[in-house]
């Protein structure tokens, strides 16, 4: 039987990143083939190559047995390849039918649109899908699940034989997921091949025939979904070749609790999250993308409103309604996006370090005490080993690691003793990473309470004294740090959905 798709030896480089290394994938007619891997494993990149959004730097793509070069989205459509993107790519101000046929509107003379045929054609597609839909409704007015149906209808309207779905259920509830799976099964029975990218283990078992796992941009292996234990797939995803790093976990038995969070809630993003961090402790937060870790940090910091929950700092309840309140309580948040939220890139090191503490450096008339600012900046440049020619250097000219240190200095100067690091080493090279780790460890040793959110499991394992794991807005478990915890344990908790969560707890209790 000819495969619908065969990709072999696919290479893709981005500036500074080798995104795909000899990646391979194949798809048979009438199968659902799941593509799995950790964040950044290269799943989406590989599928963007297949759908013409990226051009590969090497390798071969065969569609229906023929070698092809896919120059762009339009070429992919012509080959019968449809993709449903992770972020829905719809035009909110247009109607359902207008969205489905964008770029292929039925026309009459002089570029006039044949709106009647447009709507009739769109209705025909939804009839074929067995989905009721008002094709004249504006997409803005639809729920996310209904918008997903529009995306699927759009992909089907190209008579796609190959349908790529990138995390299609990320925003769907269980009933909507069931509806989606019914459609996928119907398509499969009609001979359509479906590529299904998802992090959710139980879904993979329910819907897919085969599973291909990728890691670090490379192909790891392909297994049958039905007879492969989840543990095996997780093992393939995380790999076993990582050396274990010894973590010194201080005895914090007598240390006072610095931050306590109870019953934190916000919509679907954060569901009843409770935990505490002691002075001198590093608490890691692990989980897959969209698990709600950043949302928790932002809610604690007052950057997003929270719907429920109590926050106590040093045992006293605090009312945090804005970042201002959080800073006053001694909480500092180091955003994952330093360039947007952490630094004023065009200003110099001195100005950035003093940014949140200017009140302290001004006279009654608001004149800044530059000599004092300079002394302070030079002090931090020394203690944090910030490599910069002077305190007047523009921050944008420094490396990522040194920029991160400036953000840290800023919060230290503000007397924050609870620091939340969100992806602290993103975009920082390996050597500087180790330095940031050492800095965080010494801050903890001084008695600061530190929360680290990271998508890189080795980073979480290397730093954390305890590891909190989240999945879909829930805290699914808190594991001890150090050698006691393996990556597989974390991945297991990170993919625990509610129905399986209960079983896991009882199993643990029996053990």
């Amino acid at each position: 039987m000819t495969h619908l798709v065969e990709m072999t030896g696919i290479e893709k480089h981005f500036p500074g990143v080798h995104a795909l290394r000899a990646a391979q994938f194949d798809l048979a007619p009438g199968e659902v083939h799941a593509l799995m891997g950790e964040n950044g494993a290269g799943k989406s990149t590989l599928m963007k190559v297949l759908s013409g959004i990226y051009q590969p730097d090497g390798g071969a793509v065969h569609v229906m047995g023929q070698p092809v070069t896919i120059h762009g989205p339009r070429a992919a459509q012509a080959l019968g390849i449809g993709i449903i993107h992770q972020e829905l790519a719809l035009m909110n101000d247009l109607t359902v039918a207008q969205n489905i046929f964008i770029g292929r509107e039925p026309r009459r003379s002089f570029g006039r649109l044949d709106e009647a045929r447009l709507n009739a054609d769109a209705e025909a597609i939804f009839r074929q899908m067995n989905v009721g839909m008002d094709v004249r409704a504006e997409v803005r007015s639809l729920s996310v699940a209904r918008q997903q149906m529009v995306e699927i209808a759009k992909a089907l309207s190209f008579r796609s034989r190959i349908l790529i779905m990138d995390e299609p259920t990320a925003a769907l509830n269980d009933a909507e997921t069931n509806e989606l799976f019914a459609i996928i099964r119907r398509l499969r029975s009609e001979g359509v091949g479906v590529v299904y990218i998802s992090h959710k283990m139980d879904e993979i078992r329910r819907i897919s025939d085969r599973v291909t796992v990728m890691r670090d941009g490379a192909y790891v292996g392909t297994v049958h979904a039905a007879d492969t234990p989840i543990e095996t797939i997780i093992g393939m995803m995380v790999g076993r070749d990582l050396e274990t790093v010894h973590v010194d976990i201080p005895d914090l038995g007598a240390a006072p609790v610095a931050l306590e969070v109870r019953g934190l809630c916000r919509g679907r993003a954060i569901r009843d999250v409770s935990f505490s961090v002691k002075q001198g402790e590093i608490l890691g937060f692990a989980g897959l993308m969209g698990a709600g870790r950043t949302e928790v940090a932002r809610a604690i910091f007052g950057a997003d409103p929270r719907e429920g929950g109590e926050i106590r700092v040093h045992g006293k309840p605090v009312a945090i309604r804005s970042p201002r309140d959080a800073v006053a309580a001694g909480i500092g948040y180091l955003s994952e996006d330093r360039k947007h939220f952490g630094l004023a890139l065009g200003l110099d090191v001195r100005a950035n370090i003093g940014m949140t503490s200017l009140e302290r450096f001004r006279s009654a008339l608001g004149v800044l005490d530059e000599p004092a600012l300079e002394r302070t900046a030079k002090n931090y440049i020394g203690t944090l080993a910030i490599r910069t020619p002077s305190d007047r250097q523009e921050v944008r000219l420094l490396s990522g690691g040194n920029q991160q240190k400036i953000v840290i200095a800023k919060w230290l100067l503000r007397d924050c003793d609870i620091l939340i690091f969100d992806e602290p080493t993103r975009g920082i090279d390996v050597g500087a990473k180790a330095e940031i780790y050492r800095l965080m460890q010494s801050l903890a040793a001084e008695g600061k309470a530190i929360i680290v959110i990271s998508s890189e499991l080795p980073e979480v394992l290397r730093l954390s004294h305890r590891i909190a794991v989240m999945c879909e807005g829930r805290l699914t478990g808190i594991l001890p740090g150090g050698a006691a915890t393996r990556q597989e344990d974390i991945m297991h908790l990170a993919t625990l959905r509610p129905e399986t969560a209960r079983m896991a707890t009882t199993k643990d209790a029996i053990q």
Partner: protein
């Protein structure tokens, strides 16, 4: 207070664009009623025609600006482009002595060509529309002055030229309503562009680009080409505005034009077109342009000083943009 605003926002949810248009229309009616009561001269046929005449140039420019703004862009060059097209018409008709149809073609063609350049700067060179068209605005202002030698070009050799704006085709058929041609052009153009926006591929892509450009691109549409086409169409419309204003003044005034772009954008915004793109209508823009003209005319009739007229216009613009912001916030929340 809260219940009222809640009711308003609930009503605004399903069709907030239509609501803003309705609000604009209601404001227009209120203004008309207010000025009719305040001054007996206001509702005279001659005054109504003067208001329409005053709307024609700003209205045409606002139609051009509407197209670009719906794509999520902005065109700051519409005013000086209008003048530049008028100057080109002067060169062709007066300096070179060509026949009138060639002058008209030259003006509209020049507008389309300049729009093509602006569109290319935005689509191909990825220069933000604000900057690209700001640059074009200054370039065209300078070129108008250079080409004309900073002096007005009169159309005395083309006797039928003033007819473009001030003659009345309608008046020849129905003498009782001598609607000037400039106003006729405005309304015909509004109908045509309204049709283009709602019934043609080009119009569909205006809304689609303003709504989610990346999604349109991923759908395999040549977004760059369409964007350039939209800017070129807007430029051609500016050429028409150039003909109307030159015809009314019987001269191309090279120093004119700066400031018209802001009046045009104001009319667009007052008419409920979202500056964020994706939403808007020609009907709304027409109402917006009429509100501005009625307001200025009414204040003048009531003998309000010119400087205060400007202040009121400013207030109206801020109020309209604030309404746009509120609408977007509701749509987001």
């Amino acid at each position: 207070m809260t219940s009222v605003s809640a009711a308003v926002s609930a009503a605004a949810k399903p069709a907030s664009g239509a609501q803003q248009k309705l609000l604009a229309f209601a404001s227009l009616i209120v203004l008309l009623v207010f000025f009719s009561v305040a001054s007996p001269n206001f509702l005279q046929t001659s005054n109504i025609l003067a208001i329409l005449q005053a709307t024609s140039v700003n209205g045409v420019l606002a139609i051009a600006a509407t197209l670009v703004i719906i794509t999520g862009g902005i065109d700051l060059s519409v005013g000086t482009l209008m003048t530049f097209c008028a100057v080109i018409a002067g060169v062709v008709l007066t300096y070179w002595g060509m026949p009138l149809p060639l002058g008209i073609l030259a003006a509209i063609g020049t507008g389309a060509a300049c729009g093509f350049i602006s569109g290319s700067l935005v689509a191909k060179m990825k220069i933000p529309p604000f900057i690209a068209t700001l640059g074009m605005m200054l370039i065209l202002k300078g070129l108008s002055l250079v080409i004309s030698g900073t002096k007005p070009i009169y159309f005395n050799d083309t006797p039928s030229f003033p007819e473009i704006s001030t003659g009345s085709l309608i008046g020849q058929i129905v003498p009782a309503v001598p609607v000037p041609n400039g106003v006729l052009i405005l309304f015909v153009l509004a109908l045509v562009i309204g049709y283009v926006l709602n019934r043609t591929v080009l119009g569909r892509y205006c809304f689609a680009l303003g709504s989610n450009e990346e999604a349109v691109r991923l759908s395999g549409v040549n977004t760059d080409a369409w964007k350039i086409a939209i800017y070129a169409l807007a430029g051609g419309i500016c050429g028409i505005a150039g003909l109307i204003i030159a015809s009314r003044l019987n001269s191309a005034q090279p120093a004119l034009g700066l400031g018209y772009e802001l009046d045009a954008i104001a009319a667009v915004v007052i008419g409920g077109t979202s500056l964020a793109g994706g939403r808007g209508s020609i009907l709304g823009t027409m109402i917006g342009a009429l509100i501005m003209a009625v307001l200025l005319n009414g204040l003048r009739i009531m003998s309000v000083a010119q400087e205060w007229q400007t202040v009121v216009t400013g207030l109206i613009i801020i109020a309209a943009v604030y309404a746009d912001m509120l609408r977007r916030r509701r749509a987001a929340g």
